[in-house]
Amino acid sequence: MKLKTILLPLLLVSCIGAVQADEKQAVEKVAKAVEATTPAAESVSKDELREMIRELIQEEMANLQPTSNTDSKPVAPAHAAKAGEILAHTCAGCHGTNGTLENEAFMPLAGMPEQEFVKTMLDFRDGARQSTLMGTVANGLSDEQIRDMARYFMEVSP
């Protein structure tokens, strides 16, 4: 079973592939890769190799699925960035990570009501509200970006 132990890690790749795409295609891809990189693959025929891979995929799938949701750490890839999140992190250098900070000089942004954030930024932008540099920063942001940031910060618990 030496070949099998070499194949196992590769099969993890194909497990995912098999879920998303055609299993036959995934098997073919793994087989080609193994043939190209593993001298041990020469000890079996092409069809035997593919059959072995197919079986192992199914084995691994069976092993993988029940455990995938019981692990305390998320196994699935993290969520994609929310709208406004990438922009919101550029505020953190002054306003603290995620808008939370223990610093009296800067406005805490976490949990700020959406409309308050939007109005404040628009007032900075059109000069209705005096500022040191927030007018400059607000000038670089569109209405949509300001709204997205407002929604992001509103959902952060202060």
């Binding site: 790749v13 793994v30 550029t90 505020c91 250098g93 920063v137 000038n139 670089g140």
Partner: protein
């Protein structure tokens, strides 16, 4: 399994599979490993935000010094406003709060094909993605007569804070009555754009109190600098600096500009007036510039610079000494899977500042999370704010929002509006600028390291 994950990676890397499947998905429950070289602002922020965005990613930070000495605000040590120890930042929070694996060691080898780095201590660390945030290397020898040995013993630079900072602080205190403090400003590009002008301003303020007949001279190889007009207005108000004609443009009539018939405590010699330094003589404490000789009691030289040494050793720099990269993810154009951020990278309109490194780190952390999850890196967004002081209670700044220009793949400023403190800023706004500058030292350090 007889193959470990590393060996498997090697196998995968040799096949078409590497590109055919998301690497992260390929290992199901196994962790992706991001290794970061350099524990300054860029590296620390990347480490923290990677773990914030996705705790399933293993993050290792390699840094040679167990304590980080922050460069931003380090001029305040010269005037005794803070002590050296106030610049010290530890990696404790990154380890305990965010689970970053911090290794205090030096990188001595790099195998981009096998994707690992070797450490002086003898171990090898493998990575899926490598982040290099090495800061700067000071090129002391570029100025004739100057050297690192001289900087450590008699004519400090202090642009990377440490023993030279303390030496400069001691020299300032020992400046003879009526003596001269000379700042030799650096050529472009350099770290901390307003810094070489903030430092002489704070020195001038200190001298006004402790040595009022002393003088501060800035010899500059440039004719302008970031925040020049607003900084000079501060000098004009605080140190009797006569505004040069070319910097009066655009100042509203309502703004009071002081007329000084006598030269003040602070003098700036731009390139066009012969300010460009040519050589330094430590024996006579004289800097020869294109305009003549300047003798001084304390000389502070900010030399030319390039990307931190490790970047050149790893083959990540170009002929200009900085690191070329794909702007969207800062991936090196010289080595795949290696991303370079901070002062060391080419970043077009973004200045070489801590704030730039901090927002670059966040956009990179997000891009790596997405790439490792098999998704596309999202559209990045960056910001920079450089606060600066013309005096302890006189704050000013340059601030910008940046975007990626898809057409030429360059980082550009968003919009064309005023980036600086208003020329007609009220005394309250100027004072608040200084309050924010001080508060920023704390909030910024927290955002990067805590």
């Amino acid at each position: 399994m007889s193959l470990n994950r590393r060996e498997f990676l090697g196998l995968l890397g040799a096949t078409a599979l590497a590109g055919a499947f998301p690497i992260r998905s390929a290992f199901a429950g196994a962790q992706a490993h991001v290794v970061i070289i350099g524990g300054g602002v860029g590296g620390a922020t990347t480490a923290k935000y990677l773990r914030l965005f996705d705790p399933a990613i293993k993050v290792t930070l390699i840094e040679k010094n167990p304590i980080y000495i922050r460069p931003y605000g380090s001029t305040e040590v010269l005037t005794g406003h803070i002590g050296m120890e106030d610049l010290h930042v530890t990696y404790d929070a990154l380890q305990s709060k965010y689970g970053v694996n911090v290794i205090i060691d030096e990188v001595t080898g790099f195998d981009p094909d096998k994707r690992n780095v070797s450490l002086k201590g003898g171990r090898k660390v493998s990575y899926d993605k490598l982040v290099v945030s090495p800061g700067i290397e000071l090129l002391y020898d570029k100025l004739a007569g100057y050297s690192q040995a001289l900087a450590e013993s008699k004519i400090p630079s202090g642009w990377i804070p440490g023993t030279q900072t303390q030496l400069l602080a001691d020299q300032l205190k020992a400046l003879p009555k009526g003596g001269t403090f000379l700042m030799v400003a650096p050529p472009n590009p350099y770290r901390c754009p307003p810094g070489p002008y903030e430092r002489p301003a704070l020195v001038a303020e200190w001298l006004q109190k402790h040595n009022p007949t002393a003088k501060v001279i800035i010899a500059d190889p440039k004719d302008k600098f970031v925040t020049d007009q607003t900084m000079m207005l501060g000098w004009n108000r605080l140190y009797g600096f006569p505004m040069p004609k070319e910097f009066l443009e655009g100042i509203p009539d309502s703004v009071e500009i002081q007329q000084h018939s006598q030269p003040g405590i602070l003098e700036w010699i731009p390139a066009k007036d012969g300010g460009t330094p040519v050589s330094v003589d430590a024996e006579t404490m004289t800097v020869t510039t294109e305009g003549g000789k300047i003798k001084a009691d304390v000389i502070n030289i900010v030399p030319a610079m390039r990307a931190g040494k490790i970047a050149s050793a790893m083959g990540l720099t170009d002929d200009k000494g900085w690191c070329p990269n794909q702007r969207k993810t800062f991936e090196s154009t010289l080595h795949p899977h290696v991303h370079v951020i901070g002062d060391a990278c080419h970043a077009d309109a973004m200045p070489k500042s801590g704030f730039s490194a901090n927002t670059q780190a966040k956009s990179l952390a997000r891009a790596l999370v997405e790439i490792l999850a098999g998704r596309e890196a999202p559209t990045p967004s960056w910001e920079n704010t450089c606060y600066a002081l013309a005096g302890s209670d006189y704050g000013l700044y340059v601030a910008d929002v940046f975007e990626l220009a898809e057409a030429d793949n360059k980082i550009q400023r968003v919009g064309k509006f005023n980036r600086y403190l208003r020329l007609d800023a009220t005394p309250a706004q100027i004072r608040m600028g200084a309050v924010y500058q001080q508060a920023w030292m704390k909030s910024f350090t927290e955002d990067c390291f805590a």
